[in-house]
């Protein structure tokens, strides 16, 4: 396997290709849009979605090789590319991956074709623009996972913002204007301060006379900031990532954005964009400022926020009348687990956090796709408008149940593996936080099962629901990979864990956490 990849030089071009391909796709779509401007809507829609699916499909296929081609144990960046960009400012086009990034990249590339399928019939207005934006968004997201230059990272980070803003704002629901602006401003608030911090870091690293240096490897190893400075800089990064994650209390953009976004928007937002925040912590905020991040006050504050978010998100989820909002708040809860896991600084918890990242991407993505499917049929997301539809949509019911169980974290599904690892790891350094966080397995069951009951169980009392059609082949087909992933990661997560292990361990070691347990049982006195 390896030799085949070497023979075609796979590692030398794959990352660049992944970034360029969606842009090309967007260009093709725009060209198509010009041609289709006068023809009828159905033809426009089908040409747009076919092109988009083609590009996303190719993107997905070519990316899969990364799974094997990359040396996960190596401490060097894999598939790295360095090109000059803005030399006089010390900014380079420098990309590369490690195990953590590969997994997230694959999550992205594999999920995107599904979002196209999920939008297959629901995007009727300006479909070319929609898919073009989705493609551009993909480049932004992949770029974030690959960037090894702070400025490049920031550019990709912001690159995601506008397409998503437009996707929510143009194709969204009733309150889309409010939601999209809120999304934009929240995210920008965080990232602008990070921008200042990045400039500062670069100039510090460059020294008085040289140009600034933004090379990841340099800035993470040379930064010798005073404690105070490090705290401020960390704070700036923290805010950017905390908003994106989102951590309590910076989360209120999320429910609005999720609810108003079209299905594809919600899926991308939940499944991938939220991961940017946690990825940012792992890749940038923590390695850059290990002392600030492990400062007891900082650490306990972050862990407290994470735990509050976990419990709070779950409790607020329970009382949501809107299914999408419910899932949105549940995201707050799930992402809290990721933060808890990362900041507990043990191998298990960090690896678990990475798993939760992926699991949340899969499960919540699937939930939003499912919501999209019934929304398309009923044009409502209110839980109270449903009930008993398992009778008329049995396959939908099965799918929704499986996905909900995965989100609840029932063992055997992916959800369990992540949460379990986070908690068992976090317990070693943050026992109280872990125990409080663990209570959420109860609330998660309450909010999701209650919603499940009110949607697919209970009497079929609403006449509008009686005629609902069950899922068609396209819908089943797009869910099946997700369901398969749910079980695969639940039953045999070892391939993923092995791939992220080295990178996670490096982080934990750098942060002075507990890479390996050091069990010394001191006999207690009674």
């Amino acid at each position: 396997m390896q030799s085949i990849f070497d023979a075609i030089g796979y590692n030398s071009w794959i990352l660049t290709l992944l970034l360029v391909l969606p842009i090309v796709g967007a260009g093709v779509l725009i060209a198509q849009a010009q041609r289709h401007s006068s023809s009828d809507g159905a033809a426009t829609m089908s040409s747009a979605r076919r092109t988009a699916l083609l590009f996303f499909g190719v993107e997905c296929l070519v990316s899969i090789g990364l799974w094997w081609s990359v040396d996960y144990e190596s401490t060097a960046w894999q598939a790295a590319v360095t090109l000059p960009w803005i030399e006089s400012w010390g900014i380079f086009f420098r990309i590369g991956v490690d195990g953590i990034a590969v997994v997230l990249i694959l999550l992205t590339t594999c999920l995107m074709p599904l979002t196209v399928l999920g939008s297959w019939t629901s995007i009727r207005e300006k479909p070319h623009a929609f898919y073009a934006l989705l493609l551009v968004l993909t480049t932004g997201m992949l770029g974030v996972f690959m960037s090894l230059d702070l400025v490049l990272f920031y550019v990709f980070w912001e690159l995601m913002l506008v397409p998503m803003y437009l996707i929510i704002g143009i194709w969204g629901g009733k309150r889309r204007l409010y939601a999209s602006l809120k999304f934009f401003l929240f995210t920008m608030l965080g990232s602008l301060l990070m921008l200042v911090a990045i400039v500062y870091i670069g100039i510090e690293a460059g020294g008085l006379n040289g140009p600034p240096i933004f090379d990841y490897d340099v800035v993470t190893t040379t930064g010798a900031y005073s404690y105070n400075t490090a705290l401020w800089l960390f704070g700036a990064f923290f805010l950017a990532f905390a908003v994106k994650v989102p951590m309590f209390p910076f989360h209120t953009w999320l429910p609005d954005a999720h609810v108003e976004a079209p299905t594809a928007g919600s899926v991308v937002l939940a499944s991938i964009m939220l991961k940017m925040g946690t990825f940012g912590f792992v890749r940038f905020a923590l390695p850059l400022f290990p002392y600030a991040a492990t400062h007891p006050a900082v650490k306990s504050a972050v862990i407290t926020l994470a735990v509050v978010g976990i419990v709070y998100g779950a409790l607020v989820s329970m009382v949501q009348p809107d299914f999408k909002k419910l899932v949105a708040y549940s995201s707050v809860s799930h992402m809290g687990f990721v933060i808890l896991g990362i900041f507990a600084f043990t191998t298990q918890s960090v690896q678990g956090a990475l798993m939760v990242n992926i699991n949340h991407g899969i499960s919540t993505g699937a939930l939003f796709l499912l919501i999209g499917m019934i929304y398309e049929r009923r044009h409502t997301r209110m839980i109270a408008d449903f009930g008993g539809i398992a009778k008329v949509m049995p396959i939908f019911a099965v799918m929704l149940t499986i996905v909900a169980l995965s989100s609840i974290g029932v063992p055997g599904t992916n959800g369990f593996v992540g949460e379990f690892l986070v908690l068992i790891g976090a317990f070693r350094t943050e026992p109280i936080a872990a125990v409080i966080a663990a209570t959420v397995i109860i609330f998660a069951a309450v909010y999701l099962l209650w919603a499940l009951q009110r949607i697919i169980y209970n009497p079929l009392s609403k006449p509008e629901n009686a005629a609902l059609k069950d899922l068609n082949w396209r819908e089943i087909g797009l869910l099946v990979p997700l369901i398969a992933a749910i079980f695969w990661l639940g039953l045999y997560p070892a391939p993923v864990l092995n791939r992220t292990h080295a990178a996670a361990n490096r982080l934990v070691e750098r942060m002075g956490g507990m890479p390996e347990a050091n069990i010394t049982v001191v006999p207690e006195r009674r």
Partner: protein, 507 residues
Amino acid sequence: MIFDLSVPGGLMGALVPDIILMVGAMVLMLVAAWGPESASRQRTVGFGSLAVLAVTIIAVLVYAGQGATAGPGIIAVDGFRWASDLVFLIGAAATIGIGIESNPRDRFLSAESHVLVLFATAGMMILAAARDLMIVFLGVELMSIAVYVLVGINRSSVRSAEAALKYFLLGAFSTGFLLYGIALIYGATGTTSLPVIGERIAHFALGGHGMLLIGVGLLLVGFAFKIAAVPFHMWAPDVYEGAPTPITAYMAAAVKAAAFAMFFRLWIESFTLIDGAWLAPIWWIAAATMVAGNVIAIAQRNIKRMLAYSSIVHGGYLLVAVVAGTSLGSAAFLFYAVAYSLATFGAFAVVSAMTRPGVHATLISDYDGLWTTRPWLAVGFGVCMLALLGFPIFGGAGFFAKWYVLQAAIASNNDLLPLAVILVLTSLVSAGYYLHVVRVMFMRPRPENAPEPAPLAPLTRIVLVGSVTLLLALGLFPQPLISWARTNAAVTAPEARDPFPIAPTLR
């Protein structure tokens, strides 16, 4: 090419581009005045002006390409001058380009408007070249008087007249301050030559000289007025709203750039040694400008007023580069001026295209759902808005402009981090109104009764497409522009020893 400025020939040689422009402008003025106003004359003079500009640009490029320098004298012959000149000249070309097409729509056909743009540009070029306070004054007035007239050029419009009156009265008022400042500096140092002022401040340790400081303060008032910094900004929204749209763009971009160019030279050549005195005031002016401009812009409904406040705000951002004060700051200014001018002209090209004959107020809500009828117009305008917001990639070079300013601020020895933070936080506020425009264009439905916007006239289209393309291209590959800005950053030019050092008697 080295010009000896002490002989008339050398001086003339160093001023060739300026002279080309002025001579061309005078000829065209005669053409314009030769007969009655008419559409064809307006166009003829307009294209003639463009031709003059083109020749001037070529001259500037030739001079810049040859690396022309000069000995001591009253004008500077250096990269900073040529770089600034290019910004003004291209801005003027864009103004005239839009004006040729938009003036008839606005129901005035005065061919003089284009010529006046040339004169104003000549003033700016002189300003950028000035190494003597007298030349500074001359340049300011040449520029300002022409612009006073330009603002009121639409005689049929009461708003235009009101704007002109306000601009004129307040402009003259601020000129008074500027002039008094010059007088006091002259009084304190005994010279009007910028490098000599600098030398004497150093030589005689004038850093705490009261008259000098008050002079500099008054000079600053005049400067702050020209760039519409808070609290000297009040004229700007009214004037920008009342002036013909191309002139508004011209004021927002070129006039402001000229003032900054003058200021950078002034500071770097003369006043680096009294940093301590004026850093704090400019710091506060910059902060106030960013905060107030952004906050008030939020409340605007009229697109030109909104852009006026936006221009105030960008003045504030540039002041941050000024406070940074290093040559990095002036390089940042050059970069910023280009990016900002591109975005401004792009935006005003759209505003001009969207202005309907006889309707004076262009509301932001007129852009509702523009995307559905004129997608590319909306995209172009959106790019300009994001550029003004300083957003990467989609805002093109706008991001790197802001980046440059931040970098200059943070890299300077002065502790400007708080100002940098204010800059980014107020940028967040600015997202509120820039995105509002994007949002009305893309996310609101087009009202049923909304008129179909007229197709983009060719020159306006060139301005828009050119601006947006350049913005985006420079947003992806800013390196050439950075190199250009760096090599042409304002530096202290070599100056012969002060021939007759006279100790200032006034203490």
